[in-house]
Amino acid sequence: MSKTSRTIVTMPTAAKKGEVLEIRIIVQHDMESGFRHTETGQRVPRDIIRDFLCTYNGVEVFRVELHPAMGANPLIVFTTTATESGTLEFKWSGDNGYASSTTSTLAVT
C-alpha cells in the first residue's frame, strides 16, 4: 500500500445555519487485516488505518477508531451541524506511518 492514497469527501458546499449535513468519506486503503496468508503460508502483516478525525474550524466533531474488521477502502457516512462558515478537515492515520488528510470548505448562511 502506498503511503499516499486517494481520499474522497462528499458533502454540500453551502448550508443554512443549523442544518444537519451528511458527510460521506472514502479513503483508498487495502485495510490488510493481518489474518490472511500467502500461498506459501506466510501471514500477511496487518496494515490498517487506525484513526479518523474530523475537525470543524479546528474543533473535533467526530472521531472513529478502526479495527481490522473494517472493510477495504473504508467508507463512513456521518453527520454534523452547520454552525459557521469555515473549513472541515478530515484526517486518517494508521499502521506503518500511514497518514492522509483532506479539507472541505463550507459556506454557512
Partner: protein, 138 residues
C-alpha cells in the same frame, strides 16, 4: 525473536468466541450494564460476501448539549477480533446515525453499544447469515 513470534501467532490464530465478545463488551461497559433499546443496527439478514457488509447504526437521541450520544461501539461475536469499530460523537453531530462497511468472518450476531452523555449504556443487535466469510481467501 523466534520464540516471541511463536508465542504471538497462536493468539492471532484463535478465532474469537462469544466469550471474547462478552469480554470486549465488558471492557467497554466497565462495571455498568447496558439496557436493550434505543439502538437500531441494520445489517442485511443474508450476506453474500462477508468482505464488505454495509451496516447502519442509529440511536434515538435528541443530540442536544444536555442529552447526546457520546460513543457507539460495534462488536462482532464471530470475527477473529470482536472489536469492529468505535465512533465518538458530539452534540454537533445533529443526528446519531452512521453508515459504514465492515467485514464479517462468519454467520453471527453483531452488537452495537451506545454510551449516552449521562454515562448510561444502551445496546441493540442484529443477526446475519454470511455465505462467503471474510478472512477465508488465501
Amino acid at each position: 525473536m523466534g520464540a516471541a513470534v511463536a508465542s504471538v501467532l497462536p493468539v492471532l490464530d484463535a478465532w474469537a468466541t462469544v466469550d471474547d465478545a462478552t469480554q470486549a463488551v465488558e471492557k467497554i461497559l466497565g462495571n455498568q450494564k447496558a439496557t436493550v433499546g434505543r439502538v437500531t443496527l441494520d445489517i442485511p439478514p443474508l450476506v453474500e460476501n462477508g468482505n464488505l457488509v454495509t451496516m447502519k447504526v442509529s440511536i434515538q437521541s435528541p443530540m442536544t448539549e444536555a442529552d447526546y450520544v457520546r460513543a457507539i461501539h460495534i462488536v462482532a461475536e464471530g470475527n477473529p477480533l470482536p472489536n469492529v469499530v468505535s465512533f465518538f460523537l458530539s452534540p454537533r453531530a445533529g443526528r446519531a446515525a452512521i453508515t459504514t462497511r465492515i467485514r464479517l468472518g462468519d454467520s453471527q450476531r453483531v452488537r452495537a453499544i451506545a454510551q449516552m452523555s449521562d454515562g448510561s449504556f444502551w445496546q441493540g443487535d442484529a443477526a446475519t447469515l454470511v455465505t462467503l466469510a471474510a478472512c477465508t481467501e488465501v
